[in-house]
């Protein structure tokens, strides 16, 4: 069985790859934070001034322009690179993860619009790793707790998505995937045309997603050979959504949680049998 330290390190590595790509994408689109951009701080600051005019976070606001955010994103890339040389278990590794978390929290203040579930999963993992690897804490309790938290949040994410789809008339009518694939935002022309020609495939895909997402937490308790069905399904699901829908960051942030699922499954099996 894979060790606790290795599991956490693999999670960090997979997360790092996705976070690096996602940060470079923000760098490419840095003009959205310019004074004339969609997320200009001239407008976005209204949200903060309304809720907390004398916030202790105010000094940070000076960074929310093209230049400041380019520095934050650049430093984030350097931290990710440095984490290749400083494992999570070391004090330097822990400090780097903390800095990575801070950079994510800072940028989340201006990316209120435009961030997605993968950004939230990234933040959740980084904060968990930071809290659970405090250098002065002894024993393996916190590292194990962190993996359970990441694993349970992952299962919750799939189940909530599955139940919400089951509650939707459009998903039950098996038109949802064709409709999503027909958009330019999340779809592809060839996929939309293919699903229009083959409605049975659309029915299969819609119900496959609804059932597998809803039942996903079973991967924690089933014997590993059966749990592997859910893990492989999840891998293919995220791969296909990256290829067809362009949701590349979801692939990395959710696959990063799979070592935690693997660890929990083995721990449960070990206690049961």
């Amino acid at each position: 069985m894979i060790s606790l330290i290795e599991t956490n390190q693999i999670i960090l590595l997979l997360l790092g790859v996705g976070l690096f790509i996602s940060t470079m994408e923000y760098m490419k689109k840095i003009q959205i934070f310019s004074p004339t951009g969609l997320l200009s701080w001239n407008v976005m600051q209204i949200r903060w001034e309304k809720s907390s005019p004398d916030s202790f976070l105010k000094p940070l606001f000076n960074l929310f322009n093209e230049k400041g955010l380019a520095i934050i994103f650049g430093l984030r890339c350097l931290i990710i690179f440095a984490l290749l040389f400083f494992p999570l278990e070391t004090t330097y590794g822990w400090i780097l993860v903390g800095l990575l978390g801070l950079s994510l929290l800072a940028s989340s203040m201006i990316t209120f619009y435009g961030s997605d579930g993968s950004d939230q999963m990234n933040m959740l993992i980084i904060i968990t790793l930071f809290l659970c690897h405090f250098p002065l804490a002894q024993g393996s309790y916190l590292a194990t707790l962190g993996l359970w938290f990441i694993g349970l949040q992952t299962c919750l994410s799939y189940t909530v998505a599955g139940i919400a789809k089951l509650a939707s008339a459009e998903w039950r009518a098996s038109t949802a995937i064709k409709d999503v694939f027909s958009t330019r935002t999340y779809g592809s022309r060839w996929a939309a045309v293919f699903l229009k020609k083959h409605p049975a495939v659309n029915v299969f895909l819609c119900w496959n997603v609804m059932i597998m997402e809803t039942l996903f937490p079973l991967c924690l308790i089933l014997p590993f050979n059966y749990a592997l069905v859910f893990i492989i399904w999840g891998f293919l699901f995220h791969l296909l959504t990256a290829v067809i829908m362009g949701l590349n960051s979801f692939f990395w942030s959710f696959i990063a949680t799979y070592p935690a699922l693997f660890y929990i499954n083995h721990q449960i099996q070990w206690h049961l049998f």
Binding site: V43, A167, A176, S182, T185, Y186
Partner: protein, 179 residues
């Protein structure tokens, strides 16, 4: 006996417990509690909403258009802010364009959902003071001007993408704004 290690472990356990509980509560997005947690407590967006593409699967492309007033009787042509462009072959691994699209999609969804809260005796005038409205207005007011105009109007519209199974529809037509 309590040691620092025990206290720290208990504190982290409590944090994760509360975080997980709040995440479950916030999945019911239309409840008052969910709105309170999201708008008041969760300033960094740490409480995820996991209902991806459900219950509304998101079957529209959104478009942002604007036009200028030439004189009292004439308006210029509608011009589109180039956001909903087709994805490239490499978008499975490198897709920076998704950010603009997601921002516009979030802003429009937020705008549409806030319309009922901004209804007053004068209609929907107060909507102009809402955050999503200001974001869109700010973005279009900085788009290139082909003629020296001081007044600009914007339109949010939706289309059904490649299959064109439904007709394009207007979501919101603004008044003319001084720019």
């Amino acid at each position: 006996m309590f040691t620092i290690n025990t206290i720290y472990e208990s504190a982290v356990t409590l944090i994760f417990g509360i975080w997980f509980l709040l995440t479950i509560l916030c999945q019911f997005r239309d409840t008052r509690m969910s709105a309170f947690i999201r708008n008041t407590i969760d300033i960094f967006g740490l409480i995820p909403l996991w209902t991806f593409f459900a219950p509304n699967p998101g079957k529209s492309d959104y478009h942002l258009l604007y036009r200028d007033k030439i004189d009292e009787q004439t308006n210029g042509e509608w011009l589109e802010v180039d956001i909903t462009e087709e994805r490239s072959f490499w978008s499975w691994c490198w897709n920076p364009e998704k950010r603009d699209k997601k921002i516009l999609s979030d802003v429009i969804q937020n705008l549409v959902s806030s319309i009922p809260y901004y209804k007053s005796a004068n209609g929907y005038d107060l909507l102009m003071f809402s955050m999503p409205y200001l974001i869109v207005l700010h973005a279009v007011s900085h788009c290139d001007c082909k003629r020296p105009s001081t007044q600009r109007q914007f339109m949010l519209a939706e289309t059904s993408g490649y299959l064109q199974e439904t007709s394009p529809a207007v979501i919101l037509l603004s008044v003319f704004h001084q720019i």
